[in-house]
């Protein structure tokens, strides 16, 4: 395997790009093109989305968006680039049809969840496989408060915008509750316990209807959570008189949420708290020896990460207008973790890219089929979606274990490790 990689190295994309770049940079014109190339892709993306023939539109528009995003995210230091990316993400849904808008909503939602999980896993180094629990807390909080009784809720009538901060607090509490028993656990022990926590939340939600252990004392019609039937007829939120009824409209809510979450995450990362997390991530014992209150910071990481998950849950419940316990299974936790790691851990840009690739692509490829001469794979996208997904996870990890857009620090760590390995091999 290694030999193969060595042989292919001179032709690897990064090496090729280096050679092309160095050749172009010898001229002034070439430099100018290189510096501005990413921005040229943007109008292309918009044009592609708007003009592409109907049956090609889904694939080409999305592919262009992903390609453009990749280059833009790579050069995220540039203010202009980020504004342009934001504009593109805000404008493009106008050009998409219902289905694509739905996909874009999912991508944005998972990106937000990814930013939250990134705080726990990427910044603080706490392996959390049960993130879906916080998502569920937020979703059910909103659902139970606002759905009518026939839908399984308590019809308290709280507005969406008020539930948002409430869910943040509730989820944060849940995060702290999870954090306390697991303070002493490391690595894989932590992983399995958090996984268990996620499952426990789902099972409790599934069973606490009018026959549940606790539910039967709470309410005779639908217990606490209305069980497997779920909670439905959740009313849509309003924004100054506008009904936020479609995925497109809710998408803007998620987009703003993402931006705020990303902003908050970044600010925390470069603050004292973030530095404490870094210390804990690198070596917890040394950090404790240096006076870092590991307990407080670990709980803080759980709480903050959880609160973002909670917000995501509220938005999800509002968009789908119905929640079911089966929506909050282990797959969600795994998907979020995968996109954080594949995108590039510890890194908001990576999370966004990861979400596009892992959440956006599979749905976009739903009716992808190959029909070339004798190769007749109809419904390749639909039937083999998950097979390709699994293979892709393995491939990305093996070929680029640091993720697709790693933070510069991690990239450096990696190069160091690779250099050591190369030395060892010789």
């Amino acid at each position: 395997m290694n030999k193969l990689r060595e042989a292919l190295a001179p032709w690897s994309p990064s090496r090729l790009r280096e050679r092309a770049e160095s050749r172009l940079r010898r001229t002034a014109a070439g430099t100018a093109v290189l510096n501005n190339a990413p921005y040229a892709l943007l109008p292309l993306a918009a044009i592609a989305a708007g003009l592409a023939p109907e049956h090609l539109s889904i694939r080409w528009a999305f592919a262009t968006i992903i390609a453009a995003s990749y280059f833009i995210l790579r050069s995220s230091r540039d203010l202009f680039a980020m504004v342009v990316l934001g504009a593109m993400l805000a404008y493009l849904p106008q050009k998409m049809d219902r289905f694509e808008q739905g996909i874009l909503f999912d991508v944005a939602l998972y990106a937000m969840l990814g930013i939250g999980l990134n705080i726990v896993v990427g910044y603080a180094g706490l392996l959390d496989l049960g993130y879906v629990a916080f998502f569920a807390v937020g979703a059910y909080a909103f659902a139970l408060l606002s759905a009518p009784v026939y839908g399984g809720g308590f019809d308290v009538g709280t507005s969406f915008w008020i539930v948002l901060p409430m869910a943040m607090v509730l989820a944060a509490l849940a995060g702290v509750l999870l954090g306390i028993p697991v303070l002493r656990l490391r690595g894989d022990y932590l992983a399995i316990v958090t996984l268990g926590f996620g499952e426990i939340v789902r099972i409790m939600i599934n069973n606490e209807n009018q026959t549940g252990l606790i539910g039967k004392h709470v309410n005779s019609t639908h217990g606490i959570t209305n069980g497997p039937v779920g909670v439905f007829s959740i009313p849509k939120p309003h924004f100054f008189g506008i009904d936020l009824a479609t995925p497109h409209e809710m998408y803007y809510v998620v987009l703003v949420g993402c931006l705020l979450a990303a902003f908050a995450a970044e600010r925390i990362r470069i603050s004292r708290v973030g530095r404490a997390w870094e210390a804990i991530r690198e070596d917890e014992d040394v950090a404790a020896a240096m006076g870092v209150n590991t307990t407080r910071y670990k709980l803080l990481a759980f709480a903050i990460g959880a609160s973002i998950g909670g917000i995501g849950g509220v938005i999800f419940a509002a968009k789908q207008s119905a929640v079911f316990p089966s929506d909050f299974n282990l797959d969600v936790s795994i998907n979020v973790l995968a996109l954080v790691i594949i995108g590039g851990m510890g890194n908001v840009r990576g999370v966004v890219l990861g979400s596009f690739l892992l959440i956006g692509l599979p749905d976009v490829l739903r009716d992808f089929s190959i029909n070339i001469s004798f190769i007749n794979l109809d419904n390749l996208g639909a039937d083999y979606r998950l097979v390709i997904f699994g293979a892709a996870l393995v491939a990305v990890m093996v070929l680029r274990p640091e993720g697709l857009l790693p933070s510069r620090r991690r990239q450096a760590e990696f190069e160091q490790v690779r250099a050591i390995e190369a030395e060892r091999a010789t």
């Binding site: 499952e199 099972i203 973790l337 990890m397």
Partner: protein, 303 residues
């Protein structure tokens, strides 16, 4: 009283499955410090191999009726072989390149392998569960009100047999010693002349063989094989391994049986829907008071 005995036996059955799968987890974790998320899928592939073997015998011969012992033994053997081959492939392609990568990379890779295997089998079987031909006689042993299937007894006995065999293997053979050495300190073991790569592969192989065999026998017990049948037992088995102390072979067995019996008994009072809750709560409680598991080594960082 009879009911409790029955519940105990049910618990031992599922506990036996957890225990055998847990053995594989604990071995791999011991040497690689990595959770092989795809281990449950080896169990599932074993079950399918068993199905295809027995089904093949059924269609093209009458050996299932005449010499069932032979066909069953062949099925188990083939189950082990397939699981072993898959494990070797997994190790080579998905785990070895990531040996020096950050902790999470092999985890995601393992999850990817798990998703891949599960969905390949889903496609191959076209979402249909495959029903085992009736080879192992489904006679029931009746002790008063308690009823045990012979195949259940076989499963339980087999799991104890595997424990004993594995224990002997790890403690008494040279290869076992190599595994223990690599688990304790990889670089020193290398200095001592142990071929680390080969040892790691052998660790995977041992765990896989057990899981594959267990898959075949479990398949015969539950009479169907589905593509998702290894995922939850895999997670439970990992829970069991952690409960017993990951890295410890007897710990895995203890954890497995303990988990199985607790699940079974809790069904009586709380109902089957809370089975998983009980399992994880148990785990948390044990880990709060003994973070290294029941039989695990105390990871002393002092001095």
């Amino acid at each position: 009283m009879q009911e409790y005995v029955q519940l105990l036996i049910d618990g031992l059955t599922i506990g036996g499955v957890y225990a055998v799968i847990a053995l594989g987890y604990t071995l791999v974790y011991g040497v690689l410090r990595m959770i092989n998320f795809a281990h449950g899928e080896l169990f599932m592939m074993g079950a399918f191999t068993g199905y295809y073997t027995l089904d093949g015998f059924q269609r093209h011969s009458n050996l299932n009726d005449t010499v069932p012992v032979l066909t069953i033994a062949t099925a188990i053997l083939l189950g082990m072989v397939v699981a072993v081959v898959l494990a070797i492939l997994m190790e080579r392609i998905a785990y070895r390149p990531l040996r020096h990568a950050p902790r999470l990379a092999p985890l995601i890779s393992a999850i990817g392998v798990s998703i891949l295997l599960r969905n390949i089998m889903l496609r191959v079987t076209n979402a249909q569960g495959k029903v085992y031909p009736r080879v192992f006689p489904r006679t029931v042993l009746e002790l008063g009100e308690v009823r045990v299937l012979y195949v259940q007894i076989f499963l339980i006995v087999l799991s104890f047999l595997f424990l004993a065999l594995l224990y002997l293997f790890i403690e008494r053979t040279k290869v076992g010693m190599a595994i223990r050495a690599v688990a304790e300190d990889r670089s020193t073991a290398a200095l001592m002349g142990v071929n680390v790569d080969r040892t790691i592969v052998l660790t995977f192989v041992s765990g896989a063989a057990l899981a594959g065999a267990a898959g075949v026998v479990y398949g015969m017990y539950v009479t169907t094989a589905t593509s998702g049948m290894g995922f939850i037992p895999g997670i439970k088995a990992f829970t069991a391994a952690v409960l017993g102390g990951i890295g410890s072979v007897p710990g895995a067995m203890l954890g497995g049986y303990f988990l199985g019996i607790s699940e079974s008994l809790s069904t009586k009072w709380l109902g089957a829907q809370y089975k998983d809750v009980v399992a994880f709560v148990l785990l948390v409680v044990v880990l709060i008071f003994r973070p290294w598991g029941l039989l695990g080594k105390r990871e002393d960082k002092r001095a």
